[in-house]
């Protein structure tokens, strides 16, 4: 059974009287298997983050549905407690908490015993290169370090599914690459199901084994399996990058764009 099922998903905003209706998600249907690392790419404002918010359960669809382990996250919100975690573009750390206390946040909510909270949060911080910074406040840390704390906070609850919403987008390339690589190494060990929203095609190709290309408003333009792509072949990666770029720019499905471009 797939870990995530998306069926005829549609999301519109402005459904109140007198408001202008905006379609954020036109129609999405696909599945994501357990421990798959999937990236979602598309133009800015194409509904990627809206999709992620529905997946997280903090927003609900206008029609269609999303199932996470057979549960609709926005309907049975609490049933996914501890199973799903997100890392956002901004670190979203609580400024009054130290790095350790921020990393503990999810564990506190799950009601994990205090000693274990401390031990698990500290372990993840150390693993992400933040040993010696447990008692530092977010204002005392660099952007990359704060994002590491955010990652530790998400990973500490040991979720089955982890969502990234352009989580490395505002970091410099060196820091982002290091953080991505740290996460991918962890992901191989922990077998997380990962959904990574990004506008960075190189990040998508390098980090994931499947790319979903969203049109604007969100509809599936391409579903590219990267298992057959030799990522060490720069020419092949370049061609793939060009292909995805063409699909995004034309806002048309892969088949039609592919026929024109290649």
């Amino acid at each position: 059974m797939p870990r995530i099922v998306v069926e005829n998903l549609r999301k519109e905003f402005g459904q109140q009287k007198g408001e202008q209706r905006v379609v954020a998600i036109e129609e999405l249907s696909f599945t994501i298997e357990e421990s798959e690392i999937v990236s979602i790419v598309g133009q800015t404002g194409c509904g990627k983050s809206t999709f992620l918010r529905i997946l997280l359960g903090v927003d609900s669809p206008t029609s269609g549905r999303v199932l996470v382990d057979g549960i609709e996250p926005y309907k049975e919100f609490d049933k996914l407690k501890g199973k799903i975690a997100a890392v956002f573009q901004e670190d979203r750390l609580l400024p009054w908490r130290t790095a350790l206390d921020n990393a503990k946040l999810g564990l506190e909510i799950l009601g994990i015993p205090k000693e274990e909270q401390r031990e698990r949060a500290a372990r993840w911080l150390d693993r992400l290169g933040l040993a010696g910074f447990h008692n530092a406040y977010p204002s005392e840390l660099s952007g990359g370090m704060r994002q590491r704390v955010a990652l530790a906070r998400a990973l500490a609850i040991e979720p089955a599914i982890i969502l990234f919403d352009e989580a490395f987008g505002h970091l410099d390339e060196v820091t982002a690459a290091r953080l991505r690589s740290d996460f991918l190494n962890l992901s191989k060990q922990q077998r997380y199901t990962t959904v990574m929203i990004t506008h960075n095609l190189d990040e998508a190709i390098e980090s994931t084994n499947r790319i979903l290309v969203f049109g604007r408003p969100a509809k599936l333009l391409a579903d590219i399996n990267l298992s057959y792509v030799d990522k060490s072949d720069l020419a092949e990666v370049y061609r793939l990058r060009r292909l995805i770029q063409s699909v995004i720019e034309s806002n048309r499905p892969l088949e039609s764009v592919g026929a024109q471009t290649f």
Binding site: G57, V58, K81, L94, G106, E108, I109
Partner: protein
């Protein structure tokens, strides 16, 4: 490790920063006052020695009573303001009904509340309590409500994504987020309450600094008025000092 050490040094610097300037500023004022006392007659600007002599002879029971009145009334105003702010935060509909009334109460000058209290209530203690709650309560309410409304949406969404209970949401996000607003509003309202309580005590009471000031005025004792003013300033600065200490402790993350 190097960065961790830098952070410790930065923290230490923050503790001492600004204290020297504060002391110099107050000392300069005291010196200027003393110089002025040599230029102007004692009934206009009494010297520090006269003020200190008068200060020692004051009956500090009045100061104690005033402080108790201020703290009790502020505690009540805070409780009412906090409760209403929570209700208004939870229900936009209730907020729309209560807000016009709060704005109305805030627009009434403090002296009018004193006059209303004289006309409406017989008991002097209750008059003072009423005036202080009416003057300070809306400030607490508005600042706490604003504090809750200003919690960034992205932080709320992050916390909600962990699926907390309502109780956890309040304890882990809302309360810590509004601490700066609460402390700021306490500092402002302490100043307001100390000024207003003396006016309220002028009418119909036989205790408190306001009463003592009125008594000193009757005796044309300017040194006593200055001495009581000094006591009032000391009380206010001490009370605000407690809030600053709390702020330094609770908001060290800033």
């Amino acid at each position: 490790m190097e960065r961790a050490r830098e952070i410790e040094v930065l923290k230490l610097y923050r503790v001492f920063r600004g204290r020297k300037e504060y002391a110099i500023s107050l000392l300069a004022l005291a010196v200027a006052w003393e110089i002025a006392s040599y230029i102007f007659p004692p009934y206009a600007v009494p010297s520090w020695s006269i003020i200190l002599k008068t200060l020692i002879s004051l009956d500090f029971t009045h100061a104690y009573i005033t402080v108790i009145r201020v703290l009790l009334a502020l505690a009540a105003a805070f409780a009412v303001g906090f409760l209403l702010a929570v209700i208004m935060y939870l229900s936009r509909r209730i907020e729309r009904y209560i807000l016009p009334l709060v704005n109305l109460v805030m627009a009434v000058p403090a002296i009018c509340w004193v006059l209303f209290a004289i006309l409406w209530f017989k008991e002097p203690e209750f008059r003072i309590f009423f005036v202080l709650v009416a003057v300070c309560g809306p400030g607490f309410l508005i600042d706490i409500l604003d504090g809750m409304k200003n919690i960034p949406r992205h932080l709320r969404e992050m916390l909600v994504s962990f699926r907390p209970s309502k109780n956890q949401l309040v304890r882990k996000l809302i309360l810590p987020a509004i601490v700066p607003s609460i402390l700021t509003t306490w500092k402002i309202n302490l100043g307001l309450a100390v000024r207003v309580v003396t006016v309220a005590e002028l009418v119909g009471t036989i205790s408190g600094i306001g009463y003592a000031l009125n008594f000193a005025l009757g005796n044309l004792s300017l040194a006593e008025i200055f001495a009581w003013s000094l006591v009032l300033v000391t009380i206010l600065l001490s009370l605000q000092g407690v809030v600053y200490m709390l702020e330094a402790r609770l908001l060290k993350w800033r």
